[in-house]
Structure formats: C-alpha cells, structure tokens
Amino acid sequence: MSEPVILLDGVEKTYPYFRLTNIALQLDAGQILGFVGPNGAGKSTTLRILMAMVQQDRGTVRVLGRSLPREQAAAKQDIGFVSEDMRLHGSESLAWHMRLVADLCPGWDAAYATALVGRFNLHPEQQVRALSHGERIKAALLLALARRPRLLILDEPTTGLDPVARHEVLAELMDVVQDERRAVLFSSHNTHDVEQISDQIAFIDRGRIVDTGDKETFLDRWRRLRLDVPPGVTLPAAAGVIDTSTSGRQAIVTTRAYAPGFEAGYAAAGVGIHAVERLTLEEIFVATVMHNRRERAA
C-alpha cells in the first residue's frame, strides 16, 4: 500500500515540434497534486501518458501499482479521467450517460451522482449539445466523480467555470481526499486553485519539470526583499537569488532559498531592509519559468 499512486521516472516523448524531457512525478495516496504550466508546456501530454492514451518513448510509468502501457486495462478501472476534448454524445442526455457509466462501472454511486446533479445545478434530461461549456465540464466531472475511482486525473477541471461552479468543484475534490486511499492529479494554469487545495505542486515548462515539492515548503522558501542600498554599499550575494532589480537606492531581490536569518547578511553589509514579503504561487510560478528560460537560453 505504500507504493505511490502515480510514479513517473525518466519519461520521454518526442514529437516533431515538441518534446517531453526526463519527466519525474510522484503522487501519494491521500494527496492532491496540482500540475501547473503555461499552454503547450506538456501538461496534457503527460496526463495522456498516465492514461496510456499516449505511449512514452522511454521511462517508467506506474499508476496504482501497474506498469503502463502494459497493464493499462487494470489500472484504468480505478481512474476517473476528465479532459476538455473528451466528448460526450451531443444527441444524448446527461441521464443517458449516467446510465451508461453505471452499467460499465461497478463502483458507480447513484446516490452521490444524484446529489452532484443538484450541487452542480445540472438538468439530467437535457441534451448534451444544449449544455453550456461550463455545464459540459460539470457533467463530465460528475460522471468521473460518481464512479468513486481511487485516482482522479483532471485536465484543467476549473477552466471556463464561473466562480460558484469552481467553488463546488473544488469542494468535491477536497471531499475525495477525505478518504486517505484516494488521490487527485489536476492540471491547471489557474494557480489560485492550485495554491488553495494542492498538497504537492509540480511546475512544467517547455516539456520539462522545472520545480516540484510540497506546497507549504514551496511557499515558505520564496521571498521578495525590498532593500535600501546606501551609496558606497554593494549588495552582497545571497542564497537562491534568482532576480535582482535596482533603481536608485532601492533594490528588489527575489530568492527561492529563504530561511530564518536570511536578512542578516544584508544587514551586516550595511543594506537596509524595508520589507520581506511572501509570494503568491502565481508569482513563484512566473519567476520560476522566466528564470529557467533565461538559464536555458544562456
């Protein structure tokens, strides 16, 4: 039982104009992993590899204790997958889809499905093609959630939802991990949602994982310092500084290796400290991506 729910190691996949390079990811039971990246970074391709819809060129892919793509049938029985391009039948209703999934999936929870219809404010008898974009997303999520799979893999589950619907969806994801055996992986470029509910975070850019770790540590080790550099004083080097901008006496330094006592080095050099600020996950994400792109270009 101690094996991670998801384990990716050294995963590579090359396309004519895009390449996933050395992808390593881990998700343990009872946790939510937020997978963050710009458009085209490789989020969807990685999720498709986890569903064996795309086969990796090399590397290890283990999901729910099964090796993919070889044991995909066994693994998929306990995975709920939702992505935007997953089509429901336009001429059929949500109720028709619910009956279909109920017949195919032994774990289907009809009472929970009915409750979700109410919470998501859906009309089961309506034809899918008459649904709004947000309603389609909620319908697809409902079909995945009501199977009560051990692993949910959701590609941009909150994109295109109004604030109330987003709130309802996040509540259901949090409800999933009340059961310590279950886990959720969701991709998003909405860093706010990720910051709110994720236990683990992975950043991807241009086909590479650029940083990963548990959310609390992530937020803890990033700081922005507003400094006053008097004439004749040089700004000393400090750990983990990835960005420094100066204007007159003012310097703004961003570090990803903050620890208690970090400021002491500046104070000792005669630099005044105006403020030490935490960063939002969005600021951290942008800083990480920009830093990595600069490093790769250099």
């Binding site: 946790q31 939510i32 996040l170 509540a171 991990v177 709110q196 236990d199 959310k215 609390e216 937020l219």
Partner: protein, 131 residues
C-alpha cells in the same frame, strides 16, 4: 458542508496555515473550545475550509508544538489541558499589556530605562507600599 467553525480569508495576505492557527487559538481563548475539546480531523477541516490537507496538517503540528493541542495517534487532536495552555495564552496577554504600556510610555516621552525602572518598582511592590 458548513461544519466548519473557522473561516479562511482569501483577501488576507498571511499564509493560510497561520490563519488557521490564529483562529483555533481564538476559539480556545474565548472559551468556545475548552480543554479536552476534540478538534475536527485534519481531513475534515481541510474539506470544510477547502484548503490543502498539508496546510491544516502544518497548522496542527505547530499548535501541538506550542502545547495548545494534543494529538494522539489514530484518535485525533484535542485542546490541551488548561495548565500549559492558559499559561501560554496569559503570556500572550501579558505581552499585549506591556506593548500598550510601552506605547503610553513613548507618548509621555519616557526612555526605555525609565519605563523599565517603573516596571521594576511595580514588581518589587514599592508602589503599593508607598501609598
């Protein structure tokens, strides 16, 4: 859900784990949560607040480290005995009073030494004896 006794503010720039700690302390300080009171489980509170499990876990760990709550393996967390707890809360209360005293002292133009001297006199009971 609605089971939650705490509320996280999205507009509050302080980290979520600190907001949780502060609110638990407040519930205890005002007597809503007496010693022995069983706190919601980490996962239940996370679901109720819609924040990460890891965030609530961190808040509980720090509360435990400070002696505010006690966690027993497999049996959840409860408010610690009032002894250790009220001492901690009263220390915080004392700091608050001293803080206001310092502010008044500053407004009167007293130096730190003068202020400390007056406090020392008070502690020694001189003030009372003299009257």
């Amino acid at each position: 859900m609605g089971t939650t006794d705490l509320l996280i503010s999205q507009a509050d720039r302080r980290p979520m784990y600190l907001q949780i700690i502060e609110q638990v302390r407040r519930r205890i300080a005002v007597g809503d949560w007496p010693s022995g009171y069983e706190l919601p489980s980490i996962r239940a509170l996370a679901a109720g607040l819609q924040v990460s499990v890891i965030t609530v876990k961190r808040a509980y760990l720090e509360l435990e480290r400070d002696g505010v709550i006690v966690t027993r393996q497999g049996r959840g967390s409860c408010v610690a005995d009032s002894a250790g707890l009220s001492a901690g809360l009263r220390h915080a209360e004392l700091d608050q009073h001293l803080g206001s005293a310092a502010a008044v002292g500053r407004s009167l133009g007293l130096t730190a030494e003068e202020l400390v001297a007056r406090l020392r006199d008070l502690v020694a009971g001189k003030d009372e004896e003299q009257r």
